[in-house]
Symmetry: C2
Subunit: 208 residues, 2 copies
DNA sequence: CCGCCTTGGCTAATGGGCGTAGCTTTATGG
DNA sequence: CCATAAAGCTACGCCCATTAGCCAAGGCGG
């Protein structure tokens, strides 16, 4: 008979706890049952505060995306060029390591059709804008920026993904490998700004 | 009363169909119920051929990993250097685009503890060996090879992941962006073989 | 050709998760 | 002090994985 005093935000907070508790599998294993247990409440009671499990997952995803974005912007404020790119990438990776479950929430592709995923899509787009801003500092031609953004996103996201998934043996050297990747990306992006350095020597197999 | 004539392999084949039918969500949404429906059989009957859903998923994962590996080796045989790296990356990406569900199966991190995941871990290790072999052709110092392998895996895997997840707007330019990423990786790996080109100019924020 | 036994299918039933319906109680505000 | 909206609850239906136990199909030895 006593009330638990839940609310929409409280439920989302509890969901985040569940996600965080579950390590990198936390988001995949998020369930209303677990949230209800943590709230000390029967599962159907949650529907007073949340539309569905899918809604809750979306909400967690948006929140996680915004957190990564916030960490990235905070890390890059007042920096430029290679310095900014390093800070961005390190902030990104740090977030993923500190909140593997939340980072996994980031990773689900929103359905471009579904209007329910709109906020998620917008949040993701905002996150990309941080990368765009950092890379604009390299003075690339406008039509190369998109390639640079994609390369950086792919490299950092891929590295983090593999690291979280246990794809690397020998944990000790991972920091150095990340630094090497970053140097490659910095050099590659810089080279994109100075034509004829990279792309023009023909590369068989690419540019189909 | 007529027999369906199933077998272990037949069930796995049907599971692959289910995975393929489901697009990039196919693996996540793989269920015994769907396999049974496709087989024209009641769900519990599948347990005569398969230990559990988890077993079936593992089996699909191993198979997919081996297919990516096979495609990669086939593409790089008789090639070396940048040529081989391009072929490897393109084969990898092509596989993911042609079999998004199976590629997703590749992505689940095997539990390093669980002996049931051993075959999966071994298969993944074999796949990495192809990358190692290709990158050895660049004549890197031994202690740099691991960094190069990780950078290439991260870049290609990350790109493919983002592409499959719908992370890129403007589909038309994706091929070019991939080519740019590859050029960055080729240049970066090549530079790893010629010290002082990249790593030594100090890069604030990295090498913590 | 016959019966046996392995094998592959079945139905029934359990347990767990999501989600809906409808009841009850709390607490709030007039 | 009561009315009512909000926040719980229980009961239920549905889907899925999994277990248990039954039955028939069909190959094989006699």
């Amino acid at each position: 008979m006593p009330r638990a005093g839940l609310s929409h935000d409280a439920v989302v907070r509890l969901a985040l706890q569940v996600v965080d508790d579950g390590g990198s599998r936390g988001f995949a294993e998020l369930s209303l049952a677990k949230v209800a247990a943590k709230a000390g409440v029967a599962a159907p009671s949650l529907y007073k505060h949340v539309g569905s499990l899918a809604d809750l997952r979306r909400e967690v995803a948006v929140l996680a995306i915004r957190e990564v974005t916030a960490a990235s912007t905070a890390a890059t404020v007042g920096r430029a060029g290679a310095d900014a790119l390093h800070a961005l990438a390190n902030a990104w990776r740090s977030y993923a390591r500190e909140h593997p479950g939340r980072y996994a929430a980031t990773q689900i592709g929103p359905d471009p059709e579904d209007p329910a995923d709109a906020r998620q899509r917008d949040a993701a787009a905002e996150g990309v804008q941080v990368v765009v801003a950092v890379l604009r500092g390299f003075g690339l031609p406008d039509d190369r920026v998109i390639d640079a953004v994609r390369a950086v996103r792919a490299g950092v996201h891929g590295f983090v993904m593999l690291e979280l998934g246990g794809g690397f043996r020998m944990r000790e050297d991972v920091d150095q490998s990340f630094a090497v990747l970053l140097d490659m990306l910095v050099a590659g992006v810089a080279a994109l700004g100075t034509p004829n350095a990279l792309l023009e020597h023909d590369t068989p197999g690419s540019h189909r």
